[in-house]
Subunit: 362 residues, 2 copies
């Protein structure tokens, strides 16, 4: 990488987000291969990259379709030619959003999440007549949105009564984002989806789609309980994934290229701050991000345009003007702060990809 860095930082001022194309391609191939080998449909979550170019590569690698988080993201990927979209979120389909969903359903095969009777009724009213598939969100232990597994049939029945075509269930085992928690989260995911499926069948409702999976748990997902996985972060990986052990430092495909602007002994300040890396920092993280080329360095403080880095006593020294790579803690947050990603391959800039769905929160 550093050769590439020297090449491009002559032309580009830091900080900026750079994608290592070879590493990204390896990540895409490896997740696609694992899903294929274990019989899962792979529906990558596009909220991580928000780029049409990357979504195309995911489909080339065999993705069954895309997952998105918002109607705005769905609109942008539909305009980019992606016609199989799952909005994995309990959308409140009132007002303008309802009309937008109806218009979307006319140009794409659309799946939408529901987790309440009111939500299902609002959705049914909004898309009446259009062919939209509904999936009931199940809480498998993350305790965010979603209903308890035993309530799946209740919501599904209300949705069917309101006129929706309910095709299955989905969950996000987000409680796997913690040291040593991936295994239990995958077990909880399988258990919750199995119980929800049983509750649906008891009510005479077929479950075609049982969707789960996150980057930390994807490799552990239960092929008996899931038909589909929806990992997002795997395309780039980040410091969180490396610190959780779900990837190696060499698997990190996106970094902020950054310059040392200030130094005092073993403490240096970089020009990459929370306005390019994002401020996500779980309690178990070692800091505000990591330097993949300096694994012993620690980002001890992060402000908007400053990363304060402490270097090990016996390690490399950095001086003002030196250029380094910083891996964000949570890559989805970093990408959503950038207008474009600089694509590097073979030690040189190959391309620039627009972050087409940046800021598409509604």
């Amino acid at each position: 990488m550093s050769a590439a860095i020297d090449l491009i930082t002559g032309e580009l001022d830091t900080p900026f987000l750079a994608v290592d194309l070879d590493v990204m391609e390896r990540n895409l191939a490896s997740m696609a291969g694992a899903a294929r080998a274990r019989g899962f449909a792979l529906r990558p979550h596009a909220k991580t990259h928000k780029c049409l170019e990357i979504a195309r590569r995911q489909v080339e690698h065999g993705a069954a379709g895309l997952t998105v988080a918002t109607v705005g993201e769905a609109e942008i990927f539909a305009s980019g030619g992606f016609t199989d979209l799952f909005i994995a979120y309990p959308i409140w389909a009132a007002g303008g959003r309802g009309n937008r969903l109806r218009a979307l359903a006319e140009r794409a095969s659309l799946r939408v999440g529901i987790d309440s009777e009111e939500g299902a009724q609002a959705l049914a009213k909004a898309v009446a007549g259009a062919d939209v598939e509904a999936l009931v969100e199940i809480d498998s232990g993350h305790h965010r949105s979603g209903v308890r597994p035993g309530q799946a049939a209740e919501v599904a029945t209300a949705a069917a009564r309101a006129g929706l075509r309910v095709v299955g269930i989905f969950t996000f085992p987000g409680h796997g984002y913690g040291p040593g928690r991936r295994g239990q989260a995958a077990v909880d995911e399988a258990g919750a989806l199995t119980e929800a499926r049983a509750s649906m069948r008891k009510a005479g409702l077929e479950v075609e789609v049982s969707s789960g999976g996150s980057t930390p748990t994807a490799a552990l997902s239960d092929a008996g309980a899931l038909t589909e996985i929806r990992p997002g972060v795997y395309v780039f990986n980040d410091s969180q994934q490396a610190e959780l052990g779900s990837c190696d430092w060499a698997d990190i495909a996106l970094t902020a290229i950054s310059t040392v602007v200030s130094s005092s002994g073993r403490r240096v300040v970089l020009d990459a701050g929370s306005k390019i890396l994002g401020a996500d920092q779980p309690a178990w993280a070692t800091g505000g991000g990591r330097l993949p080329d300096h694994p012993d360095a620690r980002v001890v403080a992060l402000s908007e345009h400053h990363a304060t880095v402490v270097l090990p006593e016996d390690g490399v020294s950095l001086r003002p003007g030196d250029v380094v790579r910083v891996a964000p803690n949570h890559v989805c947050a970093a990408v959503n702060l950038a207008d474009e990603l600089i694509v590097l391959a073979n030690g040189a800039q190959q391309d620039r990809w627009q972050v087409a769905a940046r800021g598409a929160n509604a």
Copy 2:
């Protein structure tokens, strides 16, 4: 506000950032009045709002000029007609950035921060011939960038030798961002600037500008030690400022207008997550933001498109479809995630302001 919310959410899908114009105007007037009364030049930090319309109002209220954090922000405000700009950051002025600084100096009166001999030399080389004023950054206790007060003369002398016109010193008392810390931070700020000024004078260097101030410490800044204050957040305020006691909940001018999408008893999920609020959450914060209209509610978890809110047992209930206001913890981070701000006054939408400098990190 809630009347305004009902009016506009017919037209706009949540989540979006809204500015209460009356509250913002009150905040602008009150900080400008306080600075005037205490003899400080007010140079507001535009990184908070990144909007030309708001910068114009700050100048109308008597601001001496603007503070920015990056060359990119300076370029955007210069293009917007603002010709007195201070980049309060130890800029590394090599390569393209050096040329951009030189071009900027030709269309604006430009001040730039320095905190090292190397940085000063790179800056002098980049802007050679152009009229740029340099200010030495002093570390007053935040321990980010900046030199120890006693080293001010050393860096200033090196800068002068390199050909820069050194006009003074600046500091950011960021360690005042903590409960009960504002008073001590203001004392540290005054002490550090006084010591730095003495070190400069001893070396025969005049100090025309002694610049400090942050929103939490502005009201406590020492008129004997400072000539100028640079608060930023005060224009909008945020949950951090209210929890620190540097503003009231009624002084918060920017909120994310958000919809309840999921509920289970006293726990509800809003569609405003970290991709619109930002993920900043200091250890002392009560959660991922606050609901100004429901002061007893707590944002117990924040993910990209979900805010999990726990409502008090004896308080109001919220149901899916209800619309609420969420004040971010750190408003600078939230604004930098939005393309535009919706401006509300007298219970209706008055305007939309473009976040012109969004993402201008370089």
